[in-house]
């Protein structure tokens, strides 16, 4: 019997599914005795139980508090390691928080969460999952600039010079509804109403995008296509749509949506084009929707990871 099966048999023995007699065919008596001693020892251990009554009271209090506070103000990092380096960082951060906390607004979304945000000019945005938006109320009147990571749909009447920045580029609004997705190396701007000006961080010139147009930037290239939908599909329903997008961007969006990690075998061409959508209900269905038409396969790896690969022929 192979070594792998041996591991499984030990696992089965531990739960009582396999008897000691069966295991003794695979393992020496002294090894089994060692296992028994370890298990007996660990089974005599425990951890202090939580105090449920006071814990729940505390939780309720936290919920009430967070409900009254709409937007989360930038705060200290969760926990700082006790080291000199961290102390220095702490000084720098305190300085920042001290001078900026009154005006900095940071809004984040987690797994399975979408938030609606209203900006000081009264315009709105929907922030998709695993994304964040930051802006300053202090400088808003002179420079209405929003920093975005991830994906958001902007709509309503924007103030003049309303600008959204991400690591890949920036979008200046000329009046309107638009969607920005900035994930990994992919930057996509869809303009649903009015017009926007898009400036890619690494390019010198900027480009105006009109209603019904989509701009994609990846792999050093800019590509402009027509949009099929009137609003981003993730806003009304639970799907994300792509038309003529590099499949690498589609996969990056799936990683973002489900909080998973994808690994690609060498034969996968991430610049290949994909048109279609994926549903947000289930990661495997989403992967299937993308992989099937392209004739590629996926397999669950360890933890939250999946491997994307191509079979021969």
């Amino acid at each position: 019997m192979s070594k792998k099966d041996n591991d499984i048999e030990i696992g089965k023995w531990l739960s009582g599914e396999t008897t000691k007699e069966v295991l003794s065919e695979l393992e020496s008596t002294s090894d089994i005795e060692a296992y028994e001693k370890i298990v007996a020892e660990v089974d005599s251990w425990s951890i202090e139980k939580t105090d449920k009554r006071s814990g729940y009271g505390k939780l309720k209090h936290q919920i009430e508090r967070s409900a009254t506070k709409e937007a989360k103000v930038v705060s200290f990092p969760y926990r700082l390691a006790i080291s000199i380096a961290a102390s220095v960082a702490l000084l720098v951060i305190s300085y920042f928080v001290w001078f900026r906390s009154s005006d900095a607004v940071l809004i984040e979304t987690r797994y399975a969460e979408v938030k609606e945000i209203t900006f000081p000019d009264g315009s709105d945005a929907l922030l998709n999952t695993n994304s964040s938006i930051a802006y300053s109320t202090k400088t808003w009147d002179t420079q209405p600039v929003i920093e975005l990571e991830g994906e958001a749909y902007f709509f309503g009447d924007h103030t003049k010079d309303f600008k959204v920045k991400s690591s890949k580029g920036e979008v200046t609004v000329l009046g309107t509804a638009f969607n920005i997705r900035s994930i990994k190396d992919y930057f996509t701007v869809n303009c649903y109403e009015g017009a926007v000006t898009v400036k890619i961080a690494t390019e010198d010139s900027s480009q105006t995008l009109h209603e019904g147009q989509s701009l994609k930037f990846y792999d050093g290239q800019v590509q402009v296509d027509e949009l099929e939908e009137k609003r981003p599909l993730w806003v009304d329903g639970n799907q994300t749509r792509f038309s003529n997008a590099p499949v690498g961007e589609v996969f990056a969006a799936i990683e973002q949506q489900f909080g998973i990690k994808l690994q690609y075998s060498k034969k996968i061409d991430l610049n290949r084009k994909y048109s279609g959508s994926f549903l947000h209900d289930n990661v495997e269905i989403a992967l299937k929707m993308v992989c099937d038409p392209l004739g590629i396969k996926f397999k669950k790896g360890s933890g939250e990871s999946y491997r994307i690969y191509r079979t021969r022929n």
Binding site: S15, I38, V39, E41, V42, S46, T50, K52
Partner: protein, 171 residues
């Protein structure tokens, strides 16, 4: 169908899973207080999303959110876990030498467990300390029952070899 947004139901979810969720995080980071904070934060997210989360999937939601929060917030270079031990009464009669050996054995084992890869450590402790079935573990860790069995086999072998190195505890 039971709604997560009803406080009575939400409270029940708290009582049913808070210990497991807290321990699940403790086995990852080795810091009880931090584990409890993160567990609470997961419950807050559950409340915020109570309308979208159906009763049957609430537990899975809690563990998934906890995993994500953990990735975002916690740095954990080295984990050091320690446990309470319930001493059986008969130990009163045993000699000091034996007590010392017992204590040392416990510490060695704690160290060996702390040194396990994160997932193996979680699986092993959720099973032994929290008495979770393989099926439950597979669900919260999002892996198969077979992977749980395999990991436990690996854990037992690793722990055995770290224990056997100590000759005085040759069994």
């Amino acid at each position: 169908m039971k709604s997560v947004c009803e406080e009575e139901n939400y409270h029940q979810l708290y009582d049913d899973h808070i210990d497991q969720l807290r321990n699940f995080l403790y086995y990852k980071c080795g810091d009880l207080e931090q584990a409890e904070d993160l567990a609470h934060e997961s419950y807050i997210r559950l409340w915020e999303n109570c309308a979208e989360v159906i009763w049957e999937t609430a537990k899975g939601f809690l563990f998934t959110v906890a995993k994500r929060l953990f990735l975002n917030k916690v740095s954990h270079d080295k984990v050091v876990l320690s446990f309470k031990k319930e001493n059986p009464l008969k130990d009163r009669t045993t000699d000091a030498q034996f007590d010392l050996q017992q204590k040392e054995f416990k510490e060695k084992l704690e160290r060996a467990i702390s040194a396990l890869p994160e997932r193996q450590r979680q699986i092993f402790l959720l099973n032994r300390i929290d008495k979770m079935s393989y099926k439950e573990i597979a669900e919260v860790m999002d892996i198969s029952v077979k992977a749980v069995e395999k990991s436990l086999g690996k854990v037992m072998k690793k722990l055995r070899s770290s224990v056997v190195e100590l000759n005085e505890f040759k069994i």
